[in-house]
Symmetry: C2
């Protein structure tokens, strides 16, 4: 049982859109990810996803609107809801979601991360 320092983990990697697992509990995982640019529009059939901004800012785009997220703010995107994160500058984000969650949801492509590293 070891504590995790978020900042120390974030500085260990530099890639974008590559979530890293930093915790496991109750079938869920805590993941850290850096966003920059635009992700693919997707949804998750069976998983709700929480996005908490640790450093920076981004916006979550939906079909009909967008939500701007700042440091210390989180958003839960329910299963089935199409979404696309967009970051004008690099942002550090903590994810809480089921261990089964695929980053690109119902889509697969160049950004899909089928297996994730642990930090």
């Amino acid at each position: 049982m070891r504590k995790v320092n978020l900042r120390e983990k974030f500085v260990l990697f530099s890639g974008h859109w590559t979530p890293k697992i930093v915790g496991d509990l109750n079938g869920q995982q805590v993941k850290l990810v850096k966003f920059q640019g635009s992700f693919v529009r997707h949804h998750h059939d069976a998983e709700d996803e929480l996005f908490l901004v640790i450093q920076g800012r981004f916006r979550m785009e939906f079909r009909d609107r967008a939500v701007a997220l700042e440091e210390g703010e989180f958003l839960i995107v329910p299963r089935g809801v199409e979404h696309r994160p967009v970051a004008d500058e690099e942002v550090w984000v903590l994810l809480f979601e089921p261990a089964t969650t695929l980053n690109t949801g119902n889509t697969t492509g160049a950004l899909t991360q089928a297996t994730l590293d642990r930090l």
Copy 2:
């Protein structure tokens, strides 16, 4: 679907050891709580618990050791592990745990919160 600003939620309440629900996903909940002083020693039979420090510091005491947690650090306490949070000064903590989790686990007493408010 609304974003949650952690600081804005924390300033809405002042009590200690009274978790407030601020998010629901996948049968889990995000709760905010302020600790000050010593809690009761307890464990959870079936739930792992995540503690993330948002402001301040505290220590998690176990039978044989303690883990000091600072801002931006989290600890996952696995089910079955006896623990007791202790805060010399007020600390703001985010919890991520199953919706079924009772704050005092296998014990009940003055600090037990059988039902939790939502913010």
